[in-house]
């Protein structure tokens, strides 16, 4: 990429729009934008958001979207966004299903999120800001011509394609959502300049089923897709060990110009859709690690997006507040502010946790911890052994 990046004028950017909450399928759908509202309030309550951090995105243009999506798919999404659309007409595009129902304004809501992640990447690559966050982003399951797993357009791929074209940057994409980051992986499967690394629960029992060790990229991109499928019921220590043992050597060897980290927080024990057993500890430690690597390897250029997270009460607000605090380099108090707890406890179906980090003894240890840890260590070794550019 080109030399002479200017010194950042600002440090951390928070990309947000009230209209992000329009990306909503149905009242009882697990992908619930209320989590954004709750998280934003928590961040504000802690005094961690000022006018200078805030950026309003514009929707991604058709040109932006067409870098990664099929034009016929775009047309289908636009037609499905009309109030008169018949859900049965869109099955071939993965739309109108129980997972990804159609809703009026779907195209606008989805392209606004893509615009948000593109803006976050642009702010960082242009040197205006060092780090940026779009917590509405992270829709990693969307494919070139198919909606999948609650994702219509792939905001991450749109942002990566933008920085590839404008800056010729080498991008590392890190996906620590509990589900395999399949959409992003397949979209850059043959590109040696986009290294995708996904840590996830193995596909044996979890959507989308892919993300095997053997998926390593194709053609010139061989070796530039990395998968670390971890066992169901993996806990904090084994998860963090896998993340560290892979990211440190691999990123050092790859030498990225930009780190883009997807922070889905559905590996938590409370998450209703997955079978992992982590606590909020990993949502403090993972951004800390990718933040540090960004400073060591690419002058701090680091973009964060959200992703999955289906316990919107007990997990998402704390996890993503910790993420923004890390991006800001701000200290968090030990306890979640009482005002926020009182405001949301009334609506919550569960008792809300009062500390950012889950108490150490919150969950009983998983009986097969030793075997799970051993299996994960073997998986990490095999993932590293098959990464050609490491050796």
């Amino acid at each position: 990429m080109s030399q002479g990046i200017e010194t950042p004028t600002g440090k951390s950017a928070f990309v947000f729009s009230e209209d992000f909450t329009r990306y909503k399928f149905a009242e009882d759908h697990p992908f619930n934008p209320k989590r954004l509202v709750m998280t934003l309030e928590l961040i504000k309550q802690l005094g961690l958001l000022e006018e200078q951090h805030l950026f309003q995105p514009a929707p991604a243009t058709d040109e932006d979207l067409l870098r990664v999506h099929d034009s016929r798919y775009l047309d289908a999404v636009k037609r499905a966004s009309l109030p008169t659309a018949d859900p049965d007409h869109f099955a071939a595009w993965g739309l109108g299903t129980e997972d990804t129902p159609i809703f009026p304004g779907m195209h606008d809501a989805s392209s606004l999120i893509c615009g948000g992640t593109k803006l976050a990447a642009e702010l960082v690559m242009s040197g205006q800001y060092q780090h940026a966050l779009n917590m509405a982003g992270g829709l990693h399951h969307a494919h070139r011509a198919q909606a999948s797993g609650f994702c219509v357009y792939n905001d991450i791929a749109v942002a990566i394609a933008h920085v590839r074209e404008k800056y010729d940057a080498r991008v590392v994409y890190i996906d620590t959502d509990a589900h395999h980051g399949d959409g992003v992986q397949w979209l850059f499967y043959e590109d040696p300049n986009v290294l995708t690394i996904s840590f996830h629960e193995t596909g044996k029992y979890l959507y989308p089923g892919t993300g095997e060790l053997t998926e390593r990229g194709e053609g010139r991109g061989y070796g530039y897709s990395l998968n670390v499928p971890l066992e169901a019921f993996t806990e904090d220590d084994s998860w963090m060990q896998a993340v560290r043992d892979v990211l440190v050597p691999v990123l050092n060897a790859f030498q990225p110009d930009l780190i883009l980290h997807q922070n889905g927080c559905d590996a938590h024990r409370f998450d209703p859709l997955t079978h992992l057993a982590a606590t909020t500890r990993i949502y403090r430690d993972m951004p800390k690690l990718t933040h540090q690597l960004a400073h060591e390897l690419c002058e701090g250029r680091w973009v964060g997006v959200g992703g999955g997270g289906y316990d919107i009460w007990r997990v998402v607000p704390r996890a993503w507040t910790m993420l923004w605090a890390e991006i800001l380099d701000a200290e968090l108090p030990e306890k979640v502010p009482t005002d926020w707890l009182e405001r949301w406890q009334v609506q919550a179906p569960f008792e809300l946790p009062t500390t950012f980090l889950d108490p150490v003894d919150l969950f009983a240890p998983i009986p097969r911890r030793t075997e799970i840890t051993e299996k994960n260590e073997i998986t990490v070794r095999r993932a590293l052994n098959g990464t050609p550019f490491l050796f």
Binding site: D99, H141, P208
Partner: protein, 205 residues
């Protein structure tokens, strides 16, 4: 699925007069393990890389001297599972595919395993749901009805004998990220969904 759809159609072969050295070179160059031996287009034997290694001390001898003569073969219209059973029972590594007296292909252990891997693999984004049902008629339809009611699409369905006597295991790969309601429907209908082996206890995951 039929043998003709998974076999290798362009078969490399040797004549019985070929030398061991010549045959060895073919197997090395093309990285293959088995060479049918043909005389006037008819199959007269089969020689494997193992036979050839045994004969390597006599590189100028003829293949005919070392080949297996009673070759087990199959037909292009045989089912893949029958070919698999033949390979397994006779402990051989491949079957030449013979039709009208001519060798039209060859199918190896690898081809069959590859076919199985593809059949059992994940070809679209799906969640795996495993159900135990009584071993009696109508059970698959029962569960399939629940899928239809939830507008869910299955990409693969497998039926296995269960480890519990009198039961069968149905494995669905379903195109949804959130199988909770489907699982709930199955349990409500009185069937049990097989939990992950590391699960602490039923339901709590």
């Amino acid at each position: 699925m039929l043998v003709e759809s998974i076999m290798t159609p362009d078969v490399l072969s040797v004549s019985p007069d070929a030398t061991v050295q010549e045959a060895l070179e073919i197997t090395k160059k093309h990285r293959i393990r088995h060479l049918p031996v043909l005389l006037g287009g008819k199959l007269t034997g089969l020689i494997s890389d193992r036979d050839l290694r045994d004969a390597a001390h006599a590189p100028e001898t003829r293949v005919e001297q070392w080949m297996v003569r009673d070759v087990i073969t199959c037909h292009p219209l045989d089912f893949v599972e029958d070919a698999a059973a033949t390979i397994y029972r006779n402990r051989v590594g491949c079957l030449p595919v013979v039709s009208k007296g001519q060798v039209v292909g060859i199918v190896s252990e690898r081809d069959i395993l590859n076919n199985l891997v593809e059949m059992m693999g994940v070809n679209s984004p799906t969640t795996r749901v495993e159900v135990e049902v009584p071993d009696k008629p109508g059970m698959l339809a029962e569960i399939a009805d629940l899928l239809r009611a939830r507008r869910l699409n299955a990409s693969t369905v497998m039926v296995f004998p269960s480890t519990t006597e009198g039961y069968k295991t149905l494995v669905f790969r379903v195109g949804t990220m959130d199988p909770r309601r489907f699982i709930h429907d199955i349990q409500n209908a009185g069937y049990s969904v097989v939990q992950h082996p590391s699960a602490l206890d039923d339901g709590e995951v």
